[in-house]
Symmetry: C3
Subunit: 636 residues, 3 copies
Amino acid sequence: MPGLRYGGDYNPEQWPEEVWHEDVRLMREAGVNLVTIGVFSWSRLQPSPGAYDFAWLDRVLDLLHSHDIQVNLATPTASPPPWFGQAHPDSLTVTADGVRLTHGSRDTYCVSAPPYRRAARELAAALADRYGEHPALALWHVHNEYGTWCHCDHVAAAFRNWLRERHGSLAALNEAWTTAFWSQHYSDWAQITPPRKTQYLPNPAQALDFRRFLSDEMLACYREQRDVLRPTGVPVTTNFVFGGWVPVDHWRWAEEVDLVAIDDYPSGNPEEESAFAADLARSWARGRDWLLMEQAAGVRYSGGRMIPKPAGAMARHSMQHIARGSRGVMFFQWRASRGGAEQWHHGMVPHAGPDSRTFREISSFGRALAGMPAHPPGIDATVAILWDYEAWWALQSPGLPSPDLDYLAPIRQAHRTLWHRGITPDFAHPSHDISRYEMVLVPSLYLMSEESAANLTGFVRNGGTVVVSYFSGLVDEHCRVHLGGHPGCLRDLLGVSVDEFHPLTEPVALSAGNAEPTHPDLTSGITLTGTIWSENIRLTSADAVATYPGGTPAITRNRVGTGTAWYLSTRLDDDGYAALLTTAGLSPAATPPGVEIVRHRDGTVYAINHTADTILGETPEPLPPGGFAVFKDPCR
Amino acid sequence: MPGLRYGGDYNPEQWPEEVWHEDVRLMREAGVNLVTIGVFSWSRLQPSPGAYDFAWLDRVLDLLHSHDIQVNLATPTASPPPWFGQAHPDSLTVTADGVRLTHGSRDTYCVSAPPYRRAARELAAALADRYGEHPALALWHVHNEYGTWCHCDHVAAAFRNWLRERHGSLAALNEAWTTAFWSQHYSDWAQITPPRKTQYLPNPAQALDFRRFLSDEMLACYREQRDVLRPTGVPVTTNFVFGGWVPVDHWRWAEEVDLVAIDDYPSGNPEEESAFAADLARSWARGRDWLLMEQAAGVRYSGGRMIPKPAGAMARHSMQHIARGSRGVMFFQWRASRGGAEQWHHGMVPHAGPDSRTFREISSFGRALAGMPAHPPGIDATVAILWDYEAWWALQSPGLPSPDLDYLAPIRQAHRTLWHRGITPDFAHPSHDISRYEMVLVPSLYLMSEESAANLTGFVRNGGTVVVSYFSGLVDEHCRVHLGGHPGCLRDLLGVSVDEFHPLTEPVALSAGNAEPTHPDLTSGITLTGTIWSENIRLTSADAVATYPGGTPAITRNRVGTGTAWYLSTRLDDDGYAALLTTAGLSPAATPPGVEIVRHRDGTVYAINHTADTILGETPEPLPPGGFAVFKDPCR
Amino acid sequence: MPGLRYGGDYNPEQWPEEVWHEDVRLMREAGVNLVTIGVFSWSRLQPSPGAYDFAWLDRVLDLLHSHDIQVNLATPTASPPPWFGQAHPDSLTVTADGVRLTHGSRDTYCVSAPPYRRAARELAAALADRYGEHPALALWHVHNEYGTWCHCDHVAAAFRNWLRERHGSLAALNEAWTTAFWSQHYSDWAQITPPRKTQYLPNPAQALDFRRFLSDEMLACYREQRDVLRPTGVPVTTNFVFGGWVPVDHWRWAEEVDLVAIDDYPSGNPEEESAFAADLARSWARGRDWLLMEQAAGVRYSGGRMIPKPAGAMARHSMQHIARGSRGVMFFQWRASRGGAEQWHHGMVPHAGPDSRTFREISSFGRALAGMPAHPPGIDATVAILWDYEAWWALQSPGLPSPDLDYLAPIRQAHRTLWHRGITPDFAHPSHDISRYEMVLVPSLYLMSEESAANLTGFVRNGGTVVVSYFSGLVDEHCRVHLGGHPGCLRDLLGVSVDEFHPLTEPVALSAGNAEPTHPDLTSGITLTGTIWSENIRLTSADAVATYPGGTPAITRNRVGTGTAWYLSTRLDDDGYAALLTTAGLSPAATPPGVEIVRHRDGTVYAINHTADTILGETPEPLPPGGFAVFKDPCR
């Protein structure tokens, strides 16, 4: 695709046809060159069983084409119409409690229901057939934000088939799921169900496998549609949604899309979160194209409130994505809906119309984007953060030793610390080749296979530095504890052995240990405070860099081969964690606070000024408050 | 009905017959002249299918009559007996999750179930037949606190019929409900269901229509019983219960009862809330009779606690109702129940018996009430507050821009502010003739039709003053946004246009704007602080009376015709809101704080002293602490 | 059984057979002499319908026996395997909402389902048959922690039969349940159901009878298994679990077991709670044997966190049980599970293995225990606390006057106050013979029959002292209020009459009343503060010892016969409650704070030092910090 993409979800079916003409005029004014059509149009495309109505969509595509606006055409399978549930009640979602849901919202479908699967393929085929060669068509957008759970009997049957494939035999499944505990031994495949409502705590291995299954089952759905669309020669994608409840392993999904597409709705600090989301997407893409497919034009959703973005923020946050390789900037949605459950969600054209701050900023940024380079070659990261959905899901198991344990918090802290230091890291799966990095951070990677541990050990042995945080490496891929002392599969690498965890309810101050750190940061000045968690560490080959009151090690360092493995057995605040990384050898920040610099390997530099001051010296021209610049580094 | 009514719910079926004789003796002692009988007596009147037992009720009515106590005879349809659910399982309530409820509490019925409807008519007919000419009979009390939701298939069918009636065609319904959003287009009436459990946010227009339907469906139930009872010539009513969850539009219901009857259970400040409840009831009645049908004798329910009313409070609060035209004072219930789920609810005769503070106060107040005038002609209010159930229900939609938005809080603040100023306002529906008022307050009237906006505009054009608060006038009767800038249908009247909302998480201080207010209150002394909400106002014809930090208007004033329209785009505290009303021309308080004066158009004055001081000068005689007086204003 | 028992739950089915040999070696090292086998082994013992596999269990028992370790053999009926639910879906638990649960956890069975009952008896018979004469067998452990609720139709039928038995006639049931309230009259037994989901508040008498029924129904289950096992001549027990949600009346159950066995998992202050749990168990046993069957080896579960026990704490807490007569110390479980929902629960052998602090403490305490006397004769308590499950259950009724009312808090306060004073009290059922005590405490005994009140009155009349706390004696055994003034059935004994309750939202300071207390404590120095509750007390024959602001009595004293009845109408803090007990005649503490002394009637003394200081003078030898001692009192 040429140039940077700019646009958003466009739902002309919600508006009278006369509005469409204002729409394309305003799109041109705003520099929009790509719109996503049809995401929720099933009931319009097929108003009743068997009856397709494409006429309106023909007119929409022609109108857009005549205004040089390209189309990201969606298959509307994320929201079956009421008639579909009426005709196929077995396609409606069933909750873990056994309640069959009713249409009346969106996403009320079962990915394993044969009628749904069939209808989805037919819809994709009908769209491919009619629009596959339409000159406006630039991209296929399969479905929307895959992530719907179902617990019905269709799902149960599909889950059993998936388990047969995964485990091979019932005996292997019983062993993997530790069914000897609580008398859960399965003597027949037919006894296995999704984790439906049960009396007390569910089996964590069953829960984890069910998430893996859902990811694969939804991926199969996606693939079926993709394979129908692919003969058109137009690239195919689907938009990824992010959240702990989403049973989708984006590492695996990224391999199946022609373009990694993400939706991004920061709820906390938007600068930190935009960088995080963009680095994740870039990492999932592994060098291939990616695109910011949805963000809100003018507001941030936080604590149930829709908070307007400050002036210029939309442009700055969008540039964070562009700087990290996004092929464009897309929004949900073009025109704020007049009615419906999301009528108060934002639009590029708000309810007030184009005479609004939001539309003025949208248009202004659209013009700025038009002049930017579309394809810098990529970033050579020197630091990686290990990121694994399965570990995240496992960390949502019942019965963990503390409710304060969390995957996302330490992951975000690791990324945030690097971002504040001007470092653009990769995320990497624990099984990936990590030999190209200088340092690898491993925040709370609860689930970790022996193979991943070996991967990490090889990296250190060859000179790499790893910083592992608490509650890592404890269970294997079936959620079974690595025995013999924690953190099981990382014990040798870290040179420590832990026999007891001690969740903290009050912060504790750490003291310098018996080892002289490689760098004075941890011993000079800064006070380290541990919160929520601590461990009773016995040193086997590591040194203690910091200790708990009483003298047991809190932070350790182990030399392995030519590298170093650090272990942090508690949660530090941001300053403490940053000091640890400095001590472990991370280079200091080279830019002023609030100035974001992203460098590509060809010397293309993106600079974004998140401060209220003009910044001199970082860019060829002074960088005004809230401004951004793209230039070639003269030193490259 | 002659004289003021005094009494309460009387449930003799819970007590051995010997207690009845003590009851009537104590009732006489307490001045009781009306009791509500039979509210929960279905299982006693009809202990098994087909078998009526009226003998006990005959004796009760005769006993009461022989003691000159009249009867408000209830149809017992609010609590079908266990045998009824056993015989007609389809009459049991179904939740939105599809759970069919079991008897064992109360209110477990479906208003759309044919067997229930039939049984309700038969019960009413049996009672009319037997007691229609009983000399003790003074009033019919249909059912109890209508307000039960059901989601069963009977309800679904009735809902569809109601929708057909309302919308005429499926096309009109699809348009009204914005079903183009999220692919919810209905191609067959049979696809429409109540808003049952669905995957994600429900359709707000469907949810709103379902509440309207429930209100009408329950009203149809009521009417069926009323029409059976009416030939007896005795007035018919039902008691209204108040709450955001109650799907009953009391404006419409008030037209169908011979006497508006309310239940009142204040949970916060009881003086403010009693005045609020009584003014609502008086306004619903629109000049016809109304009655306080239930209140607690000795306690207030607050935060799950039953807090005793202070000495004299029951009398003062009762007088607030009498002062506003209540035809009497009734309680739930005569004798506190010995067992059952509400055994700890209060009674006029508590568990301790008549030798108790509560019964002494009940008797003392009964004597006082006997000497009061029953029929002052009514109050000529100069101020009205717009009040609309549909707006309240719409403000409970999912996905609003802030969880802090609420209908009741600003409505109560408006009423409270007037009450503290000694003003007794009317509540008015937005469609009512409001030309008789000087000022109309419009707190957060989210849903507002163009017709209502025109009504308000006409009022201002002819010299009236309106004070509109934030989040008003945004959506039409189908919950669809009025486009083109907020607050859509009030934009011209207010002379402002808003393109963005800004929910506040911290308070902000307002400054004086560029307009000189008509009255110095807003600029002299008082600091205005906005909370929870703000808006980005562009002035089209209004002046800014106060501004947010940065200078955008926060409070505006627009001259239209010979009147003025004020707009408050944030929430103020009580002092700030009071200052705004003063600035807008509301007259200052004429009575000392805590002294409540209610004046009728014939010069009858009710004075209630809520303070601990003797008040001189407001009443012909000094008004003792906690005392009250009724007198004719010598100046009239 | 000779000597003190030491061991825990042992689940060899979770481990490869080679681990078993390490297990018995480590057990010997730790002094383990009894292990509980098979609790969750149904699916291993009977992997599919009809197929028993005892071979592994034969080997386990033989291996244990060959190492002189005895066996507490469990029937595995607490966790039916998946195949069982598949074969008998009607044996799966149904919630109050009508959801039939799925296997996948534990405890998913219905105690009233005939197939489950049959299978449970057959399992017990098969185990009795095979192992009844095994030389390792020392104890039968039926099931695990009975306490599972079900609401299915089997339960409904059984409940109706139980109700017939209890009430004799429908008329009696209607009277007992006050079904005249809210029209709940039953005209046919078939109309009665468990308290399933209903519209609003359930009937408290129905809810209470359902808990009684569940207790009896589960007891019948237990008895069926016991009666199958008894012919083996080996004692039979089941382990009691403690909690407000557990519908088990341990007073009645204790009569049916050969050994009272409890599970104890303190979540707050473990020293106070261990003493509490042990005194309860000792009291339930009423002089017969009892045993601490489960506790956690190394951690405490608090607020969802697993907090390690400090060094030595496990031994100290265990000694609190031994001191009160426990026949040993058992843990859940021997070896921490590798997988499953409780994989992070603790074990005597943690995941780290025997080279761990926990296993070292386990071994050290095992050695200490071996030298201790097994059978001191018992404790002659002078103080009793009334304790009644039915009162606890009734205090969980809906619609109480305040959500702050609670049974456990005042019960624990009473016990804690005695414990801090070095007094080891009995718990007694209100119907028990209490004549042997000097003082009886009655904390918030909401439900109390006339017979129990008479029992208490007789005790006082004959010279005893009772201290009754607020919200006692209010309802009868059917949850019906004792009329005529509160606290109904205790009014005469206490010499007071209450017409109103006043829940407190703020603390109030009490003042000295008009009576000179028997002891100066309440009037000298200490400030008494009442919280959460107060009552409007009228003195009939009592004196006011302390009063509320305004002068109404707060604490009263009534002389009856040769004894005294005190009434406390509010909640005091611990110091205040202790002062009240002192005033009422309780002797002062004879030991230093933190030193626990338990004396048996034969002069055997247990001393436990919970402090960090060496204690001199209490024991023959100085008692080191955290130490304990057992010796004969030379003065006896």
